[in-house]
Symmetry: C2
Subunit: 333 residues, 2 copies
């Protein structure tokens, strides 16, 4: 292994929107696997909005990335060396190996997958953590019933794509919200949502037109002005699946939210969840279901592939601005 | 029946806090029961905060009381005449007969109860709709587990009393919030809560002292400043049972609520419910459980009994200002 490891570290905590100087790119020796470990060379890195939270030391559901530590992230790659029965060089694996080329990990954090089932990068998106997030949030909170209206914010993004398509397969009317005509066209033409609203336009008028019967399930990925427009349109017994509020991640002080009296009046259920709490033990069930939808041609997806690990910080900065189009992944060189 | 009926009507919709002139007191003939009806003379009327919502024509979970119609409300009384098998003169019944002395109703809206089980007025409070509200909200949303910290606002009120005592019986640490030293003393000394916070004092300091391990279940009866103080103290996976927000019922425009990003970060479940949605079919189960707690001496309650139906409007106006102390009922003359 003459090759070196390439790692991206958190240099300092961002103030507001992250900038390139918040990251540090280093070359280090390829790690030597300890007994009981598997050495993996990552081929794809997933970039996801939750990573912004890990960069801050504000109280959150997960410890922040330490200053000087490798940025966290899901990866897909190949086993290079293994001291663990059941894992052999050449095996394809998923795991949270971080923003780096090589890592040596214990098997509890590895999923072995069949690379023939789908393109490898899909296992970071539609078949990965974002897809599992969509599936778990719908199973546990959204619980869409046939004929209901489901509104999905960040509809062209990694999670939103899957939320809307699963809801559509389950017989719902699905309305996406995305930024710009190009993304909206993708959401309706490729993903097959019933309608898509451009959040740069008049949200109220577009929601009135697209949701004449109100909203039964709202998948919250963005917060801000979109949340303010959707909230009053929730129907009695509506579920609001709190997955993220990316429009507010860089805010240094929180904006006020909706008055909660309507939660009583309408019997709303507003509930947050984190896929890592209970999602991974259900990954096989999720993967089987989604592979079935793929095989029957009912599941489309789009990726935004950035070439080269050194591009990850800029790609991530763009992700928080909505500059990606589809699930953002980095192909590791 | 030489006696007349006495009825309290909604004369007009209140602007902000209701005033006496919003009601009209009339004497009318005692109704003649139609075939298939039961004529009931009410002995107790329950006054409850939700009635403020019924006086407005704003969109709500239930149709408003029409102008000129009898105010709605739960009552307990005695059957005077019956054209329905299974109901005989002298039977004791519960039902939503409204703010009036006599009513003639179909049996689908009647519960026959054993008057020997508990004082009749208790069937409007701890054993009535408020008690059932407490039980259903804890069963379906709060789901308190032994050792958890449960905070109950309006703790000395009709619902709060029962919420806290059930949670205590289930092994929780229970902290009430009430207005003034007298109510707080009642909450700890009579109801047996572990602590009670006076919302007229420094909420933050008192919550810090009473809830050193944060809050796992918050029973929301009041909204306003109490909600703003409690919300940031909710633990991961906390449940916020949205039962009412009485402090804001007279507001003509809604105040902003909490930023909902913490619903994601902490996986909060914020959920409203209305007891009439699913509560009454479970009334027998609830009543049996509560009668068991009464029999074992583990359930205390306090009523604020107002004498005479003509006093109902003033008593209700006082209820919305927190002037009652215990479950407010009117003894019908």
């Amino acid at each position: 292994m003459a090759e070196t490891n390439l790692q991206i570290l958190l240099r300092r905590r961002p103030q507001g929107a992250p900038v390139a100087e918040d990251f540090e790119i280093v070359e280090t020796p390829v790690p030597q696997p300890k007994p009981g470990e598997v050495l993996v060379r990552a081929q794809y890195l997933s970039l996801d909005p939750y990573m912004r939270g890990r960069m801050s030391d504000a109280k959150s559901y997960s410890a922040p990335v330490a200053i000087g530590a490798v940025m966290e992230g899901q990866t897909a790659g190949e086993v290079v060396a293994s001291d663990v029965p059941g894992f052999a060089p050449g095996d394809t694996v998923l795991g949270g190996f971080g923003w780096q080329r090589y890592s040596s990990v214990a098997p509890g954090r590895l999923f072995k997958i069949d690379p023939g089932e789908a393109p490898l990068s899909a296992s970071l998106g539609v078949l990965g953590m974002p897809g599992l997030t969509a599936w778990v949030g719908l199973e546990d909170i959204g619980q869409p019933k046939p004929g209901e209206t489901v509104v999905v914010s960040a509809a062209s993004g990694a999670v939103g794509q899957v939320v809307g398509q699963i809801a559509r397969i389950r017989g719902c009317k699905v309305v996406g919200i995305a930024g710009g005509a190009k993304k909206c066209e993708f959401v309706t033409e490729v993903l097959g949502f019933d309608a898509c609203i451009d959040h740069r336009g008049d949200l109220d008028a577009q929601l009135d037109a697209a949701c004449p019967n109100g909203i039964d399930v709202y998948w919250e990925n963005v917060g801000g002005a979109v949340q303010r427009a959707v909230f009053p349109r929730l129907n009695d017994h509506a579920r609001m699946v709190m997955c993220g509020m990316i429009a507010e991640y860089n805010d240094t002080s929180p904006a006020p939210g909706p008055n909660l009296m309507s939660a009583v009046r309408k019997r709303l259920r507003i509930q947050g969840f984190i896929v890592s709490d209970s999602g991974w033990p259900r990954y096989p069930q999720f993967r089987t279901e989604l592979l079935g939808h793929m095989a029957s041609g009912r599941l489309a997806w789009r990726e935004d592939v950035v070439e080269g690990l050194r591009q990850a910080p800029q790609a991530f900065i763009g992700l928080l601005k909505g500059e990606n189009f589809g699930k953002l992944v980095v192909k590791i060189d």
